[in-house]
Each structure stands twice: as structure tokens, then as C-alpha cells.
């Protein structure tokens, strides 16, 4: 498709349409209409317009946050733009790549593609078995031509030409003699169109592979505190996006425990604080009852179990706390996941203590792995490693609202029925704690900062069809190379007896631009001439 036209309708469409008659044109029958529509759809012009539409349609997908890629960004976008949101929602701008109009464009493009390649496959099938075209009468009129005389017999010269052309991978046809004139017609470069067709077919293959992944694959994320385990079932995931035809029973029954997590940071230089590597140690089982295996999970090195891949995609801190309620009983003890806010791993989190009595307790605040303080910034984290960890929390008491039946985010405190503990001067009572410190709550009870655990975010996904897509795209490149760089070329050699010597005419014709046709014709001349120097 890159150098030949998409379909014949281009040439015919505009050029050969007769001038419109003054009266109303005859109505098209349904068959003609369908044929007309099909020809319009499969014309190169339409394909080009569709390609541009595809490019244009993809742009909003890079500007507006996308539901299945960054749902958190979508939520904050929706909160920030209350008027735009309903319009965007209607237009499907939050999931461009699943939207009706985006699908319509690429489906039309695919139909256009099929409509283009099927007829061309037929043409190519016929053309592939065709013999090289007959030798033109006047070789001198071709773009490149030479003539010279040799002493050898015409048949010997012709045989030499045939052999040379065969060696140069031409398809060769020796034309029978007419009054002593014999010729060789040769053609090569049939693979250009083959490459062209292969490329376009492989676009379809890639699309099929991609579609299989979208339909039957899944991708889930889970945050696991080091020391804890995970078993592969839907309820365990923090986020899960299945393909439209995915069945939860397809989840492989794997399970694992995160034993350890290491991260190293640059401690000096201009990029201090940048991580240099991280890794998590896993014990995993591909199914219950299977032997426990160990793996070290690092970035760029996923763990593959049963066709599913486990990736290390993030990490953070989970401070361990002990909360005692107004009666002095331990109401909560253990790690709480805090989410990093920036590269210094200043992390935000919420501790909910529904078991506290007489009132439920809630905490909200920051975890600072390496505590720093300035009057201007307030408390902040100087460095991402947990060198001097401090929690700085606000404490609330009242009703957490967890019994209302509404699902709640574990990272969000519903403060509608909670009261902030304040100091006597009315300022919030900020609890700053280093590891091992305990803070008493004004209304009874206490919170103790016991230590720091790490958590890792693991992504578990399976994208069937990725092999199909990969093969498709590799075939596509192969086809592309063929269609761009194979040069179809025709050459002819004609010999005739003249004045006791043999007159040899050689000519060539390139069917694509830019090849070194002269060079090849000259070399052919030299080879045919052999050692007989009688060139004119």
C-alpha cells in the first residue's frame, strides 16, 4: 500500500465521472448504493482520512485522565471540574480507548484494510505465477539501455544472460526466436507486494492479539505489608480490572508471602534520595499443596507463575501502632499502610479504631521517614529512607460511620461524626511521635508508635494473546522492510546476428523509484560480454 494505490476507485472516482446531468441524477438502487459505499470505504482517500481521525481521536486519551489507567486522577479531575465532568462522561473522554467513536474509527479502518487487501491478494496470486512480460520491440526507448557486439554465438550469449539473471534472482523467460532474434525477459521484486500485503495482514494480527488480551486478561494490584501473605482471589485485591470476558475462576490459585524488602537510595550527590534499586523476597506456591519456592522480585524482573506475572510496582511504609481506648484496652495493634505523597516518601495515612470504647477513635496524618522541620514548611521528610521516622497525627473521636453500610476507603477518614481533639487554645492537638513514644489522648486512651514496616505494591496480571501481538508486529516489520526496500525491476536482453557478429541489446526498467538501475544493467552487460571487448 505504500507505493501502489489502495484500490482502483481512486483513479476512477474523480477522473472518469461524467459531468452531472442538469436533471436529478437517477436514483441508486440498493446494490449500487452498497457498491458505491464499499468503494468509498475501501478507497485510499478514506483510509487516509481514517488514519488521521485515529491519530486525532487518540489525543484526548493523553490529555484527559483515563479511568482504566489512572482512576485516582479521574476522581480528582471530576472533583475539580464539576461542569465539564458530565460532558466528558457523555463523550466517553474518561475512557477514550473503549469509547464508541474510537472503536468506530478503528473498526472502519480495519474494514477498509480488509477491503483493500482481499482484492489485492487475488491480484497478487495471479501476478505471482505470471511470466515476465514479453520483450518490448524497441529496447532503446527504455529508461536504461545499452547495446554492443560480441563474437560469440547468439545462443551462447543468451545462455550466459539467462544464467547471470538467474543468479541475480530474476525470474527468467527465454523467448523463442523469430527470424533469428532471441531474447531473455526477466523480472524480480515480487516480494515487494508480498511484503506490502504481509504488513497489512499483520496489522490485523496485532489487533486480534491485543483484543484477546483486552477480553480475557486481567490486571490487579495489591498492597502487602512485608511479613504478610496474599492468596489469589478477587477479594484480596485492592484494585482489579478484568477484561470483559474474564471469569474470576480463571485466576490461578497461587499464593505468596512477602518476607523481606530492600531499597537503596543515593545518599550523596545532586540526586541524593533517588532510589538505586529495590527488591522483594517472596515465598510462593503456584497452588495449595505445591512446594514453596523462593524468588527475588525486582523492577524489570517479574515472577512468572502459571501464565500470570507478578510485578513489583511500588513500595511504601506501614508504621506499626498500638492504640489503647478510654478503658485502657488495646483496641488496635499492627501496621497501617501509609501512601507516599512524593519522592521523599512523606506519606499520608489514616488509622481507624472501630473497636475503641467508649468512643471510636480515628487518626489522620503524616509519616515522615526522615523527620525535618522548618518554620516555613512545618514538618517534612528530608530523605526517603526510614532514618529518623516520625508520625505526626491529628486524633479524632466519635463515630467512624463504618456501620452505615456505605463502603469506605481505608485511606479516607469520614469526619462527619468525628470530633478533633484540640488544645486549650483551640489549636488542633498535633501528636508528634518518634518510634517507641506514646501519646496520651485527652479523652482517655493512648497511641504508641511501635516501629516501621514496609509494604510493597504488587501487580498480578495476565495478558493472553501477547505472543500473537508480538508475532504480528514482527511480521509487520518484515513486511514493511519488503514493501519499502524490495525493488521490482524488469530487464531484457535481446541478441541478433549482424554482419557476422552478435549484436546484444540490454535494457532495464525500475518499477519503483530510486534503485541503481544503471549499475545493474552495466554489470549485466559486463557479465554477458564476458571477455569479449567489442563494446560500442
Amino acid at each position: 500500500m505504500t507505493t501502489t494505490t489502495h484500490s482502483t476507485s481512486d483513479a476512477g472516482g474523480a477522473a472518469t465521472t461524467p459531468p452531472t446531468p442538469p436533471s436529478t441524477p437517477p436514483a441508486l438502487g440498493p446494490v449500487e448504493l452498497a457498491r458505491w459505499a464499499w468503494r468509498q470505504l475501501t478507497s485510499m482517500r478514506t483510509a487516509l482520512v481514517l488514519l488521521f481521525l485515529l491519530a486525532l481521536a487518540a489525543i484526548p486519551g493523553s490529555i484527559v485522565p483515563q479511568e482504566n489507567i489512572a482512576s485516582a486522577d479521574v476522581a480528582s479531575f471530576k472533583a475539580a471540574h464539576p461542569t465539564l465532568t458530565p460532558i466528558y462522561d457523555k463523550l466517553g473522554l474518561f475512557s477514550v480507548f473503549d469509547s464508541v467513536w474510537f472503536s468506530a474509527i478503528y473498526l472502519l479502518l480495519m474494514i477498509s484494510l480488509v477491503g483493500c487487501i482481499v482484492p489485492r491478494l487475488r491480484v497478487y496470486w495471479r501476478g505471482m505465477r505470471a511470466r515476465p512480460p514479453r520483450t518490448p520491440r524497441n529496447l532503446g526507448r527504455l529508461p536504461v539501455s545499452r547495446s554492443f557486439t560480441v563474437d560469440d554465438e547468439p545462443s551462447a550469449v543468451l545462455e550466459r544472460a539467462r544464467a547471470v539473471l538467474r543468479r541475480r534472482r530474476f525470474r527468467v523467460e527465454v523467448n523463442a526466436s523469430e527470424d533469428g532474434v532471441c531474447s531473455v525477459a526477466a523480472e524480480r521484486g515480487y516480494l515487494r507486494e508480498a511484503g506490502n500485503l504481509l504488513f497489512h495482514v499483520s496489522v490485523l494480527v496485532v489487533l486480534v492479539g491485543f483484543a484477546i488480551g483486552q477480553l480475557f486478561g486481567y490486571k490487579g494490584g495489591v498492597i502487602t505489608v512485608v511479613g504478610q501473605g496474599f492468596s489469589n482471589s478477587l477479594s484480596q485485591y485492592d484494585e482489579f480490572s478484568p477484561g470483559s470476558l474474564f471469569q474470576p475462576s480463571n485466576l490461578p490459585p497461587l499464593s505468596f508471602t512477602v518476607n523481606d524488602f530492600h531499597v537503596h537510595y543515593l545518599t550523596s550527590g545532586p540526586q541524593a534520595g533517588q532510589p538505586t534499586d529495590f527488591s522483594a523476597e517472596l515465598d510462593y506456591q503456584s497452588a495449595p499443596g505445591q512446594p514453596v519456592q523462593k524468588d527475588r522480585l525486582t523492577v524489570n524482573h517479574p515472577l512468572q507463575i502459571d501464565g500470570s506475572d507478578v510485578f513489583l510496582v511500588g513500595h511504601g511504609y506501614a508504621p506499626r501502632v498500638t492504640v489503647r481506648d478510654g478503658h485502657g484496652n488495646i483496641a488496635y495493634q499492627g501496621p497501617v499502610i501509609f501512601l507516599p505523597q512524593d519522592s521523599s516518601f512523606e506519606s499520608f495515612g489514616v488509622i481507624k479504631v472501630p473497636d475503641a470504647a467508649p468512643q471510636q477513635l480515628g487518626f489522620e496524618g503524616l509519616f515522615l521517614p526522615t523527620y525535618g522541620f522548618t518554620m516555613a514548611r512545618g514538618p517534612f521528610s528530608r530523605f526517603p529512607a526510614a532514618l529518623k521516622p516520625v508520625m505526626t497525627l491529628l486524633a479524632y473521636h466519635g463515630n467512624l460511620g463504618m456501620n452505615s453500610g456505605q463502603p469506605q476507603s481505608v485511606y479516607d477518614l469520614d469526619k462527619s461524626q468525628m470530633k478533633l481533639y484540640k488544645l486549650a487554645n483551640g489549636r488542633p492537638d498535633r501528636l508528634d511521635m518518634a518510634v517507641g513514644q506514646t501519646k496520651q489522648l485527652p479523652g482517655g486512651g493512648s497511641i504508641r508508635f511501635d516501629g516501621v514496616d514496609s509494604w510493597v505494591k504488587l501487580q498480578i496480571s495476565n495478558a493472553p494473546g501477547k505472543g500473537v501481538a508480538l508475532v504480528g508486529v514482527l511480521l509487520g516489520i518484515l513486511g514493511l522492510l519488503g514493501s519499502l526496500f524490495v525493488r521490482p525491476r524488469r530487464t531484457w536482453v535481446r541478441v541478433r546476428r549482424e554482419d557476422g557478429r552478435t549484436l546484444v541489446e540490454v535494457a532495464g526498467l525500475d518499477r519503483s523509484a530510486g534503485g541503481d538501475l544503471e549499475g545493474e544493467v552495466d554489470e549485466l552487460c559486463r557479465a554477458v560480454e564476458d571477455a569479449a571487448p567489442a563494446r560500442t
Binding site: 500500500m1 505504500t2 507505493t3 501502489t4 489502495h6 481512486d10 483513479a11 474523480a14 485510499m44 482517500r45 483510509a47 487516509l48 488514519l51 488521521f52 485515529l54 491519530a55 487518540a58 489525543i59 486519551g61 493523553s62 490529555i63 485522565p65 483515563q66 489507567i69 486522577d73 480507548f97 529508461p143 491485543f210 490486571k219 543515593l266 550527590g269 545532586p270 540526586q271 533517588q274 538505586t276 534499586d277 529495590f278 523492577v299 524489570n300 524482573h301 506475572d309 510485578f311 510496582v313 501487580q459 496480571s461 495478558a463 501477547k466 501481538a469 508480538l470 508486529v473 514482527l474 509487520g476 516489520i477 514493511l480 519499502l484 526496500f485 523509484a513 530510486g514 544503471e518 549499475g519
Partner: protein
């Protein structure tokens, strides 16, 4: 030799390379300035086709006399003009020679940049380094294709491009050398980014050819091409168009490999999903689609020529936007964000 030594070597080398590019630019400016006053007799394609190639005078181009499309112009026979032709040609050759020198210095800057971090790594971990490597790709592509496609008329623009972009890189994008973030610890960084750099370099060369094609085509249609000067000495529009096509045809499969093979494979390892509709991926896809449209348009009646050249420039614009725009406008939203700060 310590990483710090290599780092400072790289910084000096890039400054030195910029200076040599500037000198090459001056040589090309001199070449074209001198040619302003030297009138030329344009030889039409038809005339030349009749002539035997061996009988053709040696063209102004960089010394491959066999190609009939090499030079659209033939110097007048007067001895004075011949002298001027000779010095014009000499300045052109000096320009190319200086570009080769600059390219070598540029290479040394790229290599030492890689050695400047501990452990040594590929020198394209951030915006500054990618700019440095990308501009190197442009020069390499220009020099590689110079002979084959007779591109010396492009020297002025390529060297100007190098000087301006390297200056911007040093002024606005500079970051001290340092280790890579863990996500980049992969040999796919090498494969993916090398292919992206090569393709971008070739697309840049192709965009220059397409732009010159449009300029000359416009001047020809308005009848404002004079008998001397830059436009007159540019190859004929058909040759410009063909050079642009060949460079794009060379770049397109490489881009396909970089964006649609190496990228997804690495993404599969790094992010667990081979295609994430990340802004960078979306724009790489847009670039691919636009260049695919260019290759198709060139073969379609009513689209070939000007429209196709405009499409090629749009393609290059999307490529640039992907490089600059994504990092600065969508920095936080893109997993490919490697802009400073």
C-alpha cells in the same frame, strides 16, 4: 579515571562539539553566501535524461558523479565562474568535514557521559542526555545518508539545528551525571532508546527535506526562484521529494520497532502490561499513524507532493511534541517522565 573526570570531559566535549558545529555552519553559510552571486544554468530532467551519464559534468554535490539526479545545476563555462564554483564547492566540503569532526567529538561526549556515572550506563537517562544523544542521531543519520542520497544541500540546516538544540540542551536541560532510577535498569533501555534515537534522527533529516521541498515548490509555483542563491541551488523538487521519502522510509521501520516492539516488550517487563496508553505511548502511536499516512499519501493521487510533505511535517511535530511536550505538560501523569525536576 574517575566518573567525575568523565563527567567534566563530557561537558567540555559537548561545548567543543557545539563550537565545531558552529564552524561547520559558518562554512555552509559561506558556501551559500558565495553562491548568491553565481548564476546557474538549470538543466531540466528531460535534457539530462538524453545525455549519457559519463558525459555529465561533475556536480556540486559531494562527489558521486554517477547519479544523474545529483545536481540540478551545472556551472557556466566562464573561467571566473568556474573559480567561484570551485571555492563554493570547497566551502561545502569544509562544512562536511567539520561536521564529521563535530560528530566525533559529539560521540565522545555521549560516551563519556555514560562513563560519568557509577556504574557506567547508557547515556540517555534524562532529558539532557536524550537531547544530546538525539542530536547525535540527527548528525549520524545526515552523514550516513549524505553520500547515498546526495544530501549536502542540507548541511546548512543540519548544522544550524545542531548548534541551536545543543545550546538549548546545555542552557536549559543540563543535569549532572548520576545513576539511573531502578525502572531504567534494563538492557531494553539500550535497545528501545537507541532505536528511538536513530528513528528520530532520520525523521528530523526527512522533515528538513520535506520542509525544503515545500519552500522550493512554493517559490517555483510563484515563479520567485532566481537564477542564483540557495533555492536555485537546492535540487529539483522531485529530487527533494524523493530524498524525503527515502529517509522517511528508512526511519519508519526503525520507529515501528522502537515504539511498537521494543517499547511494549520492555513495558511488559517493567510495568506488567505491554501497552498502557501512557501519554508517551499514545503520542508514539500518533506519530506512527501520521507517518503511515505519509507513506500512503505519497502514493495517492491528489495527496502526493505538497500534501504528503505537510503530513511528514505534522509527523515530525508530533514526534517533537512527544519528546518535549509530554515531559513538561504531562510530567506527573506519564510513566515515561524523565524531565528534570
Amino acid at each position: 579515571m574517575t566518573p567525575a573526570f568523565f563527567g567534566s570531559f563530557s561537558n567540555h566535549a559537548i561545548a567543543f562539539a557545539s563550537v565545531v558545529y558552529a564552524l561547520a555552519l559558518l562554512a555552509h553559510v559561506a558556501e551559500w553566501a558565495m553562491s548568491r552571486k553565481v548564476p546557474l544554468r538549470a538543466v531540466s530532467q528531460a535534457q539530462r535524461a538524453v545525455e549519457q551519464p559519463a558525459a555529465q559534468p561533475v556536480p556540486v554535490g559531494s562527489g558521486a558523479p554517477a547519479d544523474p539526479g545529483a545536481a540540478p545545476v551545472v556551472p557556466l563555462e566562464e573561467p571566473d565562474t568556474d573559480d567561484r564554483e570551485f571555492s563554493i564547492d570547497r566551502f561545502g566540503r569544509i562544512g562536511v568535514a567539520l561536521t564529521v569532526v563535530a560528530c566525533l567529538v559529539h560521540l565522545s561526549a555521549v560516551v563519556t557521559r555514560g562513563l560519568a556515572s557509577d556504574p557506567a550506563r547508557v547515556p540517555w537517562g534524562n532529558m539532557y542526555e536524550f537531547t544530546m544523544a538525539g542530536t547525535f542521531g540527527v548528525t549520524v543519520m545526515y552523514l550516513l545518508l549524505l553520500r547515498r542520497y546526495q544530501l549536502r544541500w542540507m548541511g546548512l540546516l543540519v548544522t544550524a539545528f545542531e548548534v541551536v538544540v545543543l545550546m538549548c540542551a546545555v542552557l536549559f536541560l543540563y543535569e549532572p551525571a548520576g545513576p539511573l532510577v531502578p525502572a531504567l535498569h534494563s538492557y531494553w533501555l539500550m535497545i528501545h532508546v537507541t532505536a528511538a534515537i536513530l528513528a528520530s534522527g532520520a525523521f528530523a533529516v526527512g522533515a528538513l527535506a520535506s520542509a525544503l521541498y515545500l519552500i522550493k515548490d512554493r517559490a517555483e509555483r510563484r515563479g520567485t526562484v532566481r537564477s542564483s542563491g540557495y533555492l536555485a541551488r537546492l535540487p529539483e523538487t522531485s529530487i527533494l521529494d524523493r530524498a524525503a521519502y527515502r529517509v522517511h522510509a528508512f526511519a519508519f521501520p526503525i520507529w515501528t520497532f522502537a515504539a511498537l516492539v521494543a517499547g511494549p516488550i520492555w513495558a511488559e517487563y517493567a510495568w506488567g502490561s505491554y501497552w498502557n496508553w501512557d501519554p508517551k505511548e499514545v503520542w508514539a502511536f500518533i506519530t506512527w499513524v501520521v507517518y503511515a499516512a505519509y507513506l500512503h499519501a505519497r502514493a495517492t493521487a491528489g495527496w502526493k507532493g505538497r500534501t504528503a510533505a505537510i503530513i511528514a511535517l505534522i509527523g515530525f511535530a508530533t514526534l517533537l511534541f512527544n519528546f518535549v511536550g509530554i515531559n513538561y505538560f504531562f510530567g506527573a501523569g506519564s510513566m515515561h517522565s524523565y524531565a528534570g525536576g
